[in-house]
């Protein structure tokens, strides 16, 4: 399984021939530029290439199988769990040149695009046609569709519209052994054979290299309205979410902040918040203007009935923007408390959020840490942020213990280690907390069948090897 041979001179030459000399580099400067992603850890690859077609990628993978060097797919390098890191060196293969939107089909409401297209660029293009691509990870202005699909990214709109997985209809994938696989169908209904599209989506670049995607689109909502509400108790916020849903309204956004997060952003807001603010909800409803107005009124009365001590609706686009500043200013505000943020995107059934928050508060007390929670209340995906000073070794160690406490808590609540960021190397050590032996064994067998020489993105998720990942530099 272990890829032993690194890139020798002969293989470097062959790689150069495959992609062309202008599209590859092994200069130290370029290797340092592809040594990181948004996990902010460092592993130097041996070479970086920017191929121009699936055929070139296929040739690279065939060579990798012959010569047994690791190949690591990379989109924009904005993943948060290290999925695009060359932890054991080898060849980083980017989708930089696969950046074309190929065909927007208005009538069938689909789009074919290449893997390197930036999510936000795709959204802007389809919206010109009155269409809508809902998946909206926080990185959407700079992350690629290929990366979003490989990590099965979500976002605030998931509560109503689902995640990337729900929009991928068909894929062109280069398999680890070099064959080019076409999964799925252009027909909305297709049950012919195994659903290999879904197998590939979320496989974190370990089962295949996604080069093209057929994506499902929906009509662009006519209007969006936003409101902000604050509660003196966390449970009230959860009850509000449940009441909203049971009154047959599905908000397009239901962002949640706990007391610690509210404290962080208080000063950035134009609005005076009540002193007693344990939970904040940012709620958006989209659709036809008349129905949106009705739904907003219903939600406001639910909030008041449940016991909100502040309800503020945005009447204009500007006011909507100013409500969002609460959410957007959170990241910089948090970084002022401690320079390092360990962000765990755990997910629980949404009615378990109060128990999760209480449990996290307990962990913070026991481990003597600052933990700030916010996230997507509608789908139970909460971002638990442990704030640490990387210079303080004891605090770092306590944080690592706290992460394990957190995962055990989440699994005991019927939840999941990661809602949208993936496992990569960041969460790999904790995988067995959630997945049993049978699950891991089946995954291993699938990986072995598709990638017998373990050359595609090795040492990630269940293949995690601390003796390899400990070789990072800082």
């Amino acid at each position: 399984m272990e890829p032993s041979a690194k890139l020798d001179r002969k293989n470097r030459t062959r790689i150069r021939q495959i992609v062309g000399p202008d599209h590859c580099s092994d200069s130290s400067e370029d290797l340092f530029l592809y040594a990181y992603d948004a996990l902010n850890r460092r592993y130097l690859p041996d070479m970086v290439v920017h191929p121009g077609s699936a055929r070139e990628i296929s040739e690279l993978l065939k060579l990798a199988n012959e010569a047994r060097f690791p190949v690591v797919p990379r989109g924009a390098g904005t993943g948060l769990t290290g999925g695009s890191l060359a932890v054991d060196g080898g060849l980083v293969v980017t989708t930089r040149r696969l950046d074309r939107i190929l065909d927007i089909d208005r009538d069938n409401m689909t789009v074919w695009c290449e893997a390197g297209v930036v999510n936000g660029d795709l959204q802007a293009e389809v919206e010109k046609e009155g269409l809508f691509f809902p998946p909206d990870p926080a990185s959407m202005k700079f992350s690629t569709i290929g990366g979003n699909a490989a990590e099965n990214a979500g976002g605030p709109r998931a509560v109503k519209y689902g995640v990337t997985r729900d929009y991928v209809m068909a894929l062109e994938v280069v398999l680890p052994t070099g064959e080019i696989l076409h999964t799925g169908s252009s027909a909305i209904k297709s049950v012919t054979g195994y659903d290999l599209t879904r197998l590939m989506v979320g496989s974190e670049g370990t089962l295949g290299f996604i080069t093209r995607l057929l994506l499902r689109l929906v009509p662009k909502p006519e209007t969006v309205r936003a409101m902000l509400t604050v509660f003196p108790e966390t449970r009230m916020a959860s009850n509000t979410v449940a009441r909203i849903m049971s009154s047959r309204i599905v908000p397009s956004t239901l962002e949640f902040m706990d007391r610690s997060a509210i404290d962080c952003v208080k000063n950035y807001l134009d609005i005076e918040l009540p002193d007693d603010a344990a939970a904040l909800l940012l709620i958006e409803v989209d659709g036809r203007a008349t129905s949106v107005t009705e739904q907003m009124a219903t939600i406001q009365s639910i909030c008041r009935e449940v016991g909100a001590n502040l309800v503020r609706a945005a009447d204009s686009e500007e006011e909507r923007e100013s409500l969002w500043t609460a959410r957007r200013s959170l990241s910089p505000a948090i970084m002022k408390i401690r320079p390092l943020k360990i962000n765990e995107d755990v997910a629980v059934p949404r009615m378990k959020i109060p128990e999760l928050i209480e449990g996290v508060e307990e962990i913070a007390r026991c481990r003597d840490l600052i933990i700030v929670n916010f996230g997507h209340a509608g789908d139970g995906n909460v971002h638990v942020n442990l704030l640490v000073d990387p210079e303080d070794r004891d605090e770092v160690a306590r944080a690592h213990s706290a992460v394990e406490d957190l995962f055990r808590l989440v699994v005991s609540l019927g939840g999941s280690l990661s809602g949208e960021h993936g496992i990569g190397i960041a969460k790999a050590p904790y995988l067995a907390i959630e997945l049993d032996e049978t699950m891991i064994s089946v995954m291993r067998r699938i990986k072995g069948a598709l990638d017998p020489n373990n050359i595609l993105n090795p040492h990630k998720t269940f293949d995690f090897d601390p003796s390899v990942t400990s070789r990072e530099f800082r």
Binding site: S27, S28, E29, D30, F32, L33, Y34, A35, Y36, D37, A38, L39, N40, A76, G77, T78, R96, D99, V118, G120, S139, K141, F142, S143, S331, P332, M335, P339, K341, F473
Partner: protein, 465 residues
């Protein structure tokens, strides 16, 4: 050249970057050519690797660091508030200290800019020989090179060296009024390439009743040298400027150059302190520095220009859009003032531009070393300008003016006028006087049109904007 012993590498700054990638979405260079070396996070990673001793300060490293406009868009968007501009300047300084400056560039930065006399001499030489090297382009008053020259691509239009430099035409106290005493910091581009902008500022301040002073000893602000990493040179320049402006008792020091203003406000405090100036002297100098737009807005100019006078006069207004220079809008936060000034002008209709605060692609030496990328960035700016349908685009930085004129010409749209705010205001105010003069049966014309719009200067002023 002397190699500085203490190369300060901004590890504390670069390590603040968490590599999230937000800078990808705002960087004009990355937008034109999306490679990781063009992003702020990439540059922070390289700086960090050098600081840790893992990477040599190589030629390639230098090329990567220099492929940056210093427009500040990444710094503005960064969720972690990483001061990328400071990191870039410090890294370039370390690079210059260790490797020396590039030949040519080093000579220009260290010898020509370093003394007023040296630079003036170079400009005089340029003026004398530009006829031999460039042909004049009739419709643009710009120059194209006649035969291959280093640094200047064949398709680039640059202004000629002015027949008369601003600081030759205007020296010492040039207007005497009953109002505040205002000093003008000319800046090299205004001085040598666009002296008419300086003249317009003098007239405008004079019209407002100010006593206008152009201190004799003023020199380059040093931004090109600072951007090139030659901090030692800039310290001397900062001190010479401090001394020049101390000669006069001034209420305000005004500049019409966004990059000079940004440099004075952001970097001079530290530079002067390093040069040994005392805190009160520094404070007395820098507390008076402001952009011409800030000064005019502070003096209440919009109300004086007679808002809405056009409709009454029943004439067709000039449609004008505004481009925010990075070093004025983003770095100095002066965004509202120029727009308010334009909106209030009689005979002018303001049309907003999409992406008005997006860099024009000039970036000083960036546009010399990376002209192809610079053109692509500029194309997007020109698209936005043309979309407005405006007859004129106005801005507040001579470097942006140079680059936008070049871009419009390349696209065959030299008919769209490009002006400095001071020029537009002066022209409109003078025409107003003429208009009101006509009504009284007098004849005459403001001298804005007839005043020597010099033969311009043809050496690239290097600046960060």
């Amino acid at each position: 050249m002397p190699k500085s012993k203490d190369h300060r590498l901004p590890t504390n700054i670069s390590s603040k970057c968490v590599k999230c990638g937000t800078c990808h979405s705002v960087c004009p260079v990355f937008d034109a050519v999306p490679t990781e070396s063009h992003t702020a996070r990439g540059k922070m990673a390289l700086i960090e690797a050098v600081a840790q001793g893992r990477l040599e300060e190589s030629e390639r490293y230098r090329d990567y660091l220099e492929a940056c406009l210093l427009c500040g868009a990444c710094q503005e968007a960064c969720p972690n508030e990483v001061p990328t501009l400071a990191a870039m300047l410090e890294a370039r300084e370390s690079l210059a200290g260790r490797m020396g400056l590039k030949t040519g560039k080093g000579m220009i930065l260290n010898h020509l800019l370093a003394t007023a006399r040296g630079f003036r001499l170079a400009m005089r030489t340029g003026r004398a020989v530009q006829g031999l090297m460039f042909r004049r382009i009739p419709e643009s008053s710009g120059l194209r090179r006649r035969f291959p020259l280093p640094l200047i691509p064949e398709d680039r239009t640059i202004p000629g060296v002015a027949r008369d430099f601003f600081t030759d035409l205007y020296t010492g106290t040039v207007r005497t009024g009953s109002g505040p005493r205002v000093g003008i910091f000319a800046g090299c581009m205004t001085n040598y390439f666009y002296p008419e902008t300086g003249a317009d500022m003098v007239d405008l301040l004079g019209m407002l009743g100010a006593t206008v002073v152009v201190p004799e000893g003023q020199v380059c602000c040093g931004m090109p040298a600072l951007a090139g990493g030659a901090r030692d040179t800039v310290r001397d320049l900062a001190m010479q400027n401090l001394e020049a402006f101390e000669e006069y008792d001034l209420d305000a020091i005004v500049t019409g150059c966004a990059s000079c203003g940004g440099n004075l406000k952001d970097n001079f405090r530290a530079l002067l302190a390093e040069a040994g100036a005392s805190e009160p002297r520094i404070e007395a100098f820098l507390s008076k520095v402001m952009d011409i737009n800030e000064y005019l807005a502070r003096m209440g100019l919009p109300s004086r220009t007679g808002e809405g006078a056009d409709e009454e006069a029943g004439r067709e207004p000039l449609t004008v859009t505004y481009h925010h220079p990075c070093h004025l809008g983003r770095l100095q936060g002066v965004k509202e003032e120029p727009v308010r000034l334009i909106q209030a002008l009689p005979g002018v209709r303001y049309v907003p531009m999409e992406e008005a605060d997006r860099c024009c692609g000039m970036g000083g030496s960036f546009s010399i070393e990376n002209y192809d990328i610079s053109k692509r960035i500029n194309d997007r700016k020109v698209d936005r300008i043309l979309e407005t349908g405006a007859q004129a685009v106005v801005t507040s930085c001579p470097a942006c003016i140079l680059h936008i004129r070049d871009g419009l010409r390349r696209r065959g749209r030299a008919d769209v006028e490009v002006h400095h705010v001071a020029e537009l205001i002066t022209r409109r105010m003078e025409e107003e006087e003429v208009e009101s003069g006509k009504e009284k049966g007098e004849s005459g014309r403001g001298d804005a049109e007839t005043r020597g719009r010099g033969e311009e200067v043809s050496c690239e002023g290097e600046r960060g904007g």
